[in-house]
Amino acid sequence: MESQALLVLLVFVLVLSIFLGFELINKVPSTLHTPLMSGANAISGITIVGALLASGGEGTFSSVLVGTFAVFFASINVVGGYLVTNRMLKMFKKK
């Protein structure tokens, strides 16, 4: 795809996602704000996709090394974030 067309498409996706995000998050009750935060935090670990491509892809030794560190930090964020959110949400019960 032509790079300008691609950029327009990506910006389009970005803008729609922000609106969608506002709609979704406004409906989360305040009692769940901590799990929302840690869950959202885990989602931001999606940067792991870029990290994996940098660590396992073609490149110089230094770019692979930097990518590998990125994988390490992003995977802590993803794994830890989802597990800790699950731990919290498990406790929310109604009697």
């Binding site: 009692t31 935060m37 840690s38 490149g59 919290m88």
Partner: protein, 467 residues
């Protein structure tokens, strides 16, 4: 067949599917009943995104990335299973910082990769490094303040704003140099990148250090938003939709939480970021016309009043977290209910050290989430409540917010406990709260101070009920 799973079209379709799972996961967080499943849905979206990426043709070597994945997995599992519920704000801040540094490193890796980057990618790389660096060092400072490794007091340097703005301008010059490579700075591309990273890290520190411990809920929410923006921006670096969608969702979530926290304190975001609130200076600004005296009460007398009460409202604050009193609080609540009393919990949005902190602690102690109320729900009924028990909360119940125009918190929405028939305040001593502001609630006619550790005081009440 295998070739299909390695093809970019399959990967892109799978990334769209992963984005849909993230969206559904967040949607299911709108109710406590579906929230846990929602988190699993979101996690499976992440798993799909990771597996599909690993299957790509572009990935030619697995040894490094698998080692890093396993190491990260171990650290993540250990950290998330060992952390105490009271320390959750620190952990979230730390994880947030890791997300930021990961995005920064993705940008750096892409920049030093020999395959040439387009103009748009260069802009995205600069932005990713900038936001990622601020997120990382800012989150580490927030982590330090929350875990009390460093002082929670706002650290204001001389000429803070001048230093900050010149650093910001310097960072922008470096960004422009990275994008256009004019050579005017007489530095190699790699040194420009390196100096930019150092500058962004410094910016993160300088932006977070002046913010007092009491404002940390706002800071964590804002940094949360930044980590999303960094991920989104990394999406422009590698032209990937799922990063953009997921990052934007997180960015929006952080912004909404930031806004809620600011409204709950009746302050603008810039006042939180640059106001240096929560220092010792603010306590001297009170007008000093507080009248009355402190009336202490013993646990035995408090028991007699509670025994006769028909409705009790519990207002927890960070002090409950510090003394780990949530379990005995729940026990007391159950005993009161058995005694025919109606028990509710009123939680202020900024109680504790992160949004929803108190709700998590009470959930840990098995308090049903339908008895947790917000200030707007309980304030109109306050006159009908027999006893309010304030446990380690201070600023969120301060009547000065309504009555004293000279108070730094004037106008902040508070839980108006002073309008209830009786207020018990559980407190270690007469020291001012985290924000360093005097609280005339303690001197009101209907207030009774129950001094001592909150957990011990409530345990005494519980044993009185049982005997």
């Amino acid at each position: 067949m295998i070739a299909f799973f390695q093809s970019p079209i399959f990967a892109n379709l799978a990334y769209i599917f992963a984005s849909i799972l993230f969206i559904f996961g967040l949607k299911m967080l709108s109710s406590p009943e579906t929230a846990q499943r929602g988190n699993l849905v979101s996690a499976s979206g992440m798993l799909i995104a990771i597996l599909v990426t690993l299957a790509q043709n572009e990935i030619i070597a697995y040894e490094y990335l698998l080692a890093a994945l396993v190491a990260g997995l171990i650290v993540g599992v250990l950290a998330s299973s060992l952390v105490k519920m009271t320390s959750m704000p620190e952990l979230v801040a730390l994880f947030n910082g890791f997300g930021g540094i990961a995005s920064l490193l993705v940008g750096v890796a892409e920049y030093i990769n020999p395959s040439s980057s387009t103009f748009i990618q260069l802009i995205a790389i600069s932005f990713t490094v900038l936001i990622g660096g601020i997120t990382f060092s800012g989150s580490l400072i927030a982590f330090g303040k929350l875990s009390e490794i460093i002082s929670g007091k706002p650290l204001i340097l001389f000429g803070q704003k001048i230093v900050l703005s010149s650093l910001l301008v310097f960072a922008l010059i470096l960004v422009l140099e990275l994008i256009f490579s004019t050579g005017l700075l007489n530095l190699s591309n790699q040194s420009v990148l390196f100096i930019l990273i150092v500058t962004t890290l410094l910016l993160g520190v300088l932006l977070t250090a002046p913010i007092g411990g009491a404002d940390m809920p706002v800071v964590i929410a804002l940094l949360n938003s930044y980590s999303g923006l960094a991920a989104s921006s990394a999406g422009f670096v590698i032209n990937n939709n799922v990063l953009i969608v997921a990052g934007a969702l997180v960015g929006a979530s952080g912004l909404i939480l930031t806004n809620i926290m600011c409204k709950a304190m009746n302050r603008s975001l810039s006042n939180v970021l640059f106001g240096g609130f929560g220092g010792t200076s603010s306590s001297s600004s009170s007008t000093g016309e507080i009248q009355g005296e402190v009336k202490p009460i013993t646990a035995e007398d408090a028991y007699l009043i509670l025994e006769a009460a028909n409705s009790v409202l519990v207002i927890p604050g960070y002090g409950m977290a510090v003394s780990q009193a949530q379990h005995v609080v729940r026990e007391l609540g159950e005993l009161l209910e058995d005694n025919g009393c109606e028990v509710k919990y009123a939680i202020h949005p900024v109680a504790g050290r992160m949004p929803g902190h108190m709700n998590v602690l009470l959930a840990e102690a098995n308090v049903s989430y339908d008895v947790l109320a917000e200030p707007d729900d309980v304030n109109p009924l306050m006159e009908t409540i027999d006893v309010c028990i304030v446990i380690g909360a201070n600023d969120v119940v301060n009547p000065d917010a309504r009555e004293n125009e000279g108070s730094p918190i004037y106008g902040m929405p508070v839980i108006e406990v002073d309008r209830a028939k009786t207020v018990f305040i559980l407190k270690r001593s007469m020291a001012a709260g985290f924000a360093g502001i005097d609280n005339p609630l303690f001197l009101k006619e209907n207030s009774r101070m129950l001094f001592g550790d909150a957990k011990e005081s409530i345990s005494t009440l519980v044993s009185e009920f049982k005997s």
